[in-house]
């Protein structure tokens, strides 16, 4: 089976073109067949399956999330070969855990699956990175770390990506983060202006560190003095 081949299923198996479904029920639409396959394969690790607006949501235990996504990626009957998003949800109710959400898409089978793992509050927000399965998880997990403070174990370069590297105010999309930030406007502006807009690289950027010997003399000198993109 070639990498880009499309497996005809459902409507497209009869030769008709795929069409946009209409009149989708809020709940009760048929689940993605991958959900049943997951329950057969992994059993109680799949804590629950919901179908909302015809999109299947599979809740999994946090320790098994990596193995499940690996299986979804590798299994020839699933072939979820495209990771469209990694994000997280925090609910206003303090008792409800933070959810990490993976949006998986199987291009050959034209399937979409949403996998969620719950991280209890009060425990370290850590989960295994899927970077070794999908390279596209690199920046998605960095964004998730930047906005929610969830640490992805095994990510090669977990740094902030939207806010600057030395951002001190916390994780902006968390519910305990005030909308206007923690610091006063003048302090925020002072810290922002302390960034060096010409410091494009830091030693944490692995490819730059590899090429350190080939960098121009002035850049090597600046990096060796510990130049950072901000204070």
């Amino acid at each position: 089976m070639s990498r880009f081949e499309v497996v005809s299923t459902g409507d497209s198996a009869s030769g008709s073109q795929p069409s946009t479904p209409t009149a989708i029920p809020h709940r009760g639409a048929p689940a993605n067949p991958s959900a049943q396959a997951l329950q057969q394969k992994f059993g109680p690790v799949i804590t629950r399956v919901e179908v909302i607006w015809a999109e299947t949501v599979v809740y999994v235990q946090r320790a098994s999330a990596h193995a499940i996504i690996q299986w979804l990626h590798d299994d020839p009957a699933q072939r979820y070969n495209f990771l469209s998003d990694v994000t997280a949800v925090e609910y206003r109710d303090p008792g409800v855990p933070i959810e990490v959400v993976w949006h998986l898409r199987s291009l050959p089978f034209r399937r979409f699956l949403r996998v969620k793992a719950e991280l209890e509050k009060g425990q370290p927000l850590e989960i295994d990175s899927v970077y070794d399965i999908y390279r596209s998880a690199d920046w998605l997990e960095r964004e998730c770390y930047d906005m929610f403070g969830i640490r992805f174990r095994g990510h090669p370069d977990l740094r902030r990506i939207l806010m600057w590297e030395q951002y001190k105010e916390g994780y902006p999309l968390r519910k305990d983060f005030p909308l206007r930030g923690r610091f006063s406007r003048s302090e925020q502006l002072r810290q922002a202006l302390a960034q060096n807009p010409e410091a494009r690289y830091s030693m944490e950027e692995l490819s730059i560190a590899d090429a350190y010997a080939e960098l121009p003399e002035d850049m090597r000198e600046r990096l060796s003095k510990g130049e950072r993109t901000g204070e």
Binding site: E169, K175, F177, R180, G181, R185, A192, L193, P197
Partner: protein
């Protein structure tokens, strides 16, 4: 045009038989006339205001009528910084650096609500008015302003340029920010400018 003054009191026929002539005018007037009609904009477009700015520069509204058709993407050749759109904190040192790279004489137009006040983005990520980073000459209201609005602001800036006098020494001084904080206006003033207003005063701050 500014040079077409009545011939009887400023334009003197020096040698009518040679068909030559000369013009007398104030140096201020001549310099300002030239500057005001050849302002080169440095477009700093970050959001939807930049779309309106592009429409202003395109043929329908034709910024070339005001001598501004030449967008200067190098700050070193620019006269006017037009900040079109919201400026997040991460861009604050960059717009400051661009402003410092522009040579005198230079002016700044803050286009739209977000650039002028932060607009509806009263949040952790957006600068509450670029006048906390760089000095601004003209504020153009609107969300985003229509091209007519921007052109009105540009005409106001041209009026300002035409009324400058070389004798006023302070107008062209580079504003030096405080070396420790890099702010050029006091922190208390920035806090006051960043205070919520309108509906946003009703938004709650969480306790932390």
């Amino acid at each position: 045009m500014g040079l077409s003054v009545p011939s009887d009191h400023q334009v003197v026929s020096y040698a009518p038989e040679a068909q030559e002539g000369w013009v007398a005018t104030r140096l201020d007037f001549l310099v300002n006339w030239a500057r005001a009609n050849s302002l080169w904009p440095m477009p700093f477009g970050t959001a939807c205001c930049a779309i309106e700015f592009m429409a202003t520069a395109a043929s329908d509204f034709d910024l070339a009528r005001f001598g501004m058709e030449r967008m200067s993407f190098s700050p070193r050749q620019a006269d006017v910084l037009i900040c079109a759109g919201r400026v997040p904190f991460k861009l604050a040192p960059i717009i400051r650096r661009i402003w410092q790279q522009m040579p005198q004489p230079k002016w700044a137009i803050s286009m739209g609500a977000c650039a002028s006040t932060g607009g509806m983005f009263d949040n952790y990520a957006v600068v509450q008015g670029i006048d906390t980073i760089i000095p601004v000459d003209v504020y153009v209201p609107g969300c985003p302003p229509r091209p007519e609005g921007l052109i009105y602001g540009i005409r106001m800036l041209q009026e300002k340029v035409k009324n400058e006098r070389a004798a006023d020494k302070g107008t062209r001084d580079e504003m030096e920010p405080d070396p420790s904080s890099q702010l050029y206006i006091p922190p208390s003033v920035i806090d006051e400018l960043g205070e919520p207003f309108g509906n946003s005063v009703n938004q709650t701050r969480s306790g932390l």
